[in-house]
Symmetry: D2
Subunit: 291 residues, 4 copies
């Protein structure tokens, strides 16, 4: 068994964004409280520039007077009244996560180690790659590994096959562990805000290829890594997490890469954790993270 | 004029802690919303270990149906019903802050520079010191400076005089800018959670005197600074903020001190800012900081 | 093959500490240069408090006029003249590293992943544990795993067996990946400055058991991890590396542990890397790290 | 008296860069040692990509057999033989530093506070500004303040006057404390690697105007500041120091600015300290910082 999920009480989680109005929090908390829901976490944020209200409510399902199948329907009238965009999830649902990798394997090792340690509430049915390099790692961790070699002429067909596989497996989240192919617009749109990428620079500095080399020649004193949702514009999607480490003139490009790998692992892992914990709202190409 | 406070709309701020119960947030937001209050910020936190609810509500005074003199009275029944500890403040009140200093002046310079730049919503009527060293700095910044030389035999009388001066000036907050005297129990109790100290180590490591020297001989790779409320136990009060910087074998004790000074300035300034913004709740010798 | 070591040119590395005297650097560089050695890295440091000179010289073996077997003998007279403590190593030697683990496996996963990725110049012949938990991980990574259950009555015998195994395998470095047993004085002395431990706090804060719990109840705003050489005094050995991460009132003990695990992995891995790269000198219970 | 410089022993400092060759360190240390010089600090670095050798030698002038006036001449033949670019300075020389400011005063306050506290080995004869705002601060700190209002039509003349004033005062270093004018090419060239600017972003991200606003709309999770030498290309000069701080969705642009100000102060102050301590070498639009 992957983790102790089954012994934890199940909670319902509502992620909401809508135009800010008086009485919003009162109305939502009233909906939960009057149905005997015990709020465990309430996070809210108002963007005063955009006049948008964001919130995350988490409450015990046990004892709640509305059965879990009926919560969405019961909440709908309120959601409509306030013009909400909202998403309801339950903490005992196990999201299904596909991992994409190319030839760099440090992030893959880290993701699979966390997975096998039970750090995450997720199921990884398979790994997809455009290379065979990581096959043996998948084997170590006992996970299916599918190779889709990609070149300019077969890209479209291969993506189509990948999409079929993702749909068949009911994949909720795609994690790009240093997957070095640019996904097509259609692919990205089918998984809006459900593809997490790790970029090995402190975005928006050094987008695109070879960021460590660019950082080295610019002579920066700090390097970084950025995890973000993939959009159709390269390395320009909503940023989920960033972190940095100091470098100096003593560091070669190889040192930049070595230090950066550790950043990449952590920055990607944090993004996955936030996503799996239903703690991220996307708005205006930015993220609200309810830590 | 020190800042643009007068042109900002005034808001009311409620800091609340109480035993956690269902319906708490709903009840408080209902109190505000039903009186036509527009909530600007709502932060809440539940400590599940202690079953304690903490929150900070901030709402526009303008348009609120209860006049500001009557808010406290109107809120009292609710507060009693839920057994709340609470504090009401208004953003247009200018807290009165006394600064204590000994011979190290970097924090004093920083505090006075921020004050004169209008960074803080505060009034500093005077500086108190046990030495004359910083007199000329007070003069530069046009602030009264009172010297109370302290030795074991006169400590009690000098503290009594200081207390009178603080009471006469209606001081809300005392900031110890590297003030190297231990305050008596009575003094501390009169200003519970209203004396902020900066300690030049990463507490609980290296409490007491000469922390940089201790850090140097222990061979740590990171040094820190800690701002905290003063309690009767030395360097053991509720921590407000901490920060760190890397050191290496190349750094002498003088380097530790030089690097540490910058930390001290920033860590103290952040604590003052949180306090002046009514963003701190103290519970169980710990702080809840509503950032 | 584990890495590309064989294709890299081999270099000789001298780690030296001795009383500081005029002409030291000149004498050593002269020894290397006059024998046609090309210095790749020269790091030196003087502790003026202790008047001790530390340095690390790395030069190409290729073209050096003294054959590698004879370098030590050729250097000895100089070393004696300056009263040096010194150590000579070659970059093509592959250190042999034993890993100890108990039931927490995140550091083990990380160490083995780095090992299998070829990040380190090392050979791991086996893992030793006092529990069976990590057996399946060792199996995934195809490394021998030996269980030595330990209780007060069998401790001495089990340690004796472990020592035999370590000697038989010519182990150079022992890495304690959250190994929750205190090693005896004799054990530690046999591997002076060759046992690296990871402690899950920012030492000297919170030594001993349950540091995350202590950090949580103290209400710190930052937690840390510390890698150090093991000495006979618990958690008091020479610190190799430390790092930290912010926490807040919103974080539970479980969050502290989750965030801390990532720190532990990185802080341990950096220490191992420094050690394997012959970049650490120990003096006076402190480390000089030639980054 | 500004600091305890006069009581410290004077040291000579050589900053050297040249093509890397065998025997370089030996030759230079020999020059110092054979003349009875006691090396206090020796830092060296080789850029293997460019095959360039960088070093900083610091030794006691007392007891050195060559008098300080003659050191340069005595060193010249060696410098020529190795094709060195080099600079000789003495620790008892007090560099003359001009400060430029516009309307933002936080960096100015910080620089002047450090100056008056004796943190730096420098003399500040005057402040130059294109506005009157900071006049009263200069007055507080008892430093001359010269206003040069600048508009497109008078820029050239005003710069000419500024240059005259800088030459007359033998200015060694110009510090731009958020000076919001772009200096002309001629101006910059006269003070190559002697003008330090603070830019309020993590360069190369967000060069140019309003970086905090750009960072806010991009939704970054970390903001930064960068100090660099000014070159003729805007915000593209050699980076001296960078630092960062976390931000979140809860932070407004005003919070970005407030947090960023503290970064700017520290990042600028560190750069000034490195420069005044003769610890910076510039090569290929990058800096080598001998910390």
């Amino acid at each position: 068994m992957k983790n102790d999920q089954t012994t934890k009480p199940c909670s319902a989680i509502l992620l909401i964004s809508c135009p800010d109005r008086k009485g919003l929090v009162a109305a939502i908390t009233e909906f939960i409280s009057s149905n005997n829901g015990n709020i465990i976490h309430l996070d809210q944020h108002v963007d005063f520039q955009q006049n948008v209200f964001f919130s995350r409510f988490e409450w015990d399902v046990e004892g709640f007077r509305i059965s879990r199948e009926n919560i969405a329907a019961a909440f709908s009238p309120l959601a409509e009244a306030y013009n909400m965009q909202w998403e309801l999830s339950f903490s005992d649902y196990v999201p299904r996560m596909a991992v994409f990798v190319s030839t760099q394997t440090h992030c893959l090792y880290d993701v699979l180690s966390r997975y096998r340690s039970g750090e995450w509430n997720a199921e990884i049915p398979f790994i997809i790659s455009n290379h065979e390099e990581a096959q043996s790692i998948a084997y170590k961790f006992n996970i299916n590994y599918h190779v889709f070699p990609i070149n300019p002429s077969n890209r479209q067909q291969q993506e189509a096959k990948q999409l079929n596989m993702l749909r068949d497996a009911n994949i909720d989240l795609i994690v790009l562990c240093r997957y070095m192919q640019i996904l097509s617009e259609d692919f990205v749109k089918e998984f809006t805000n459900r593809i997490i990428n790790i970029h090995h620079s402190f975005l928006p500095a050094f987008p695109g290829a070879k960021p460590y080399h660019s950082a080295y020649s610019r002579g920066v004193k700090i390097i970084g890594a950025t995890s973000h949702y993939v959009t159709t514009e390269l390395d320009a999607g909503p940023i989920i997490e960033q972190d940095i480490i100091r470098v100096s003139h003593k560091n070669s490009i190889q040192d930049f890469i070595r230090k950066g790998k550790d950043l990449e692992k952590i920055v990607l892992a944090r993004a996955i954790w936030y996503h799996l914990s239903n703690k991220i709202l996307v708005y205006n190409n930015k993220t609200v993270i309810f830590e």
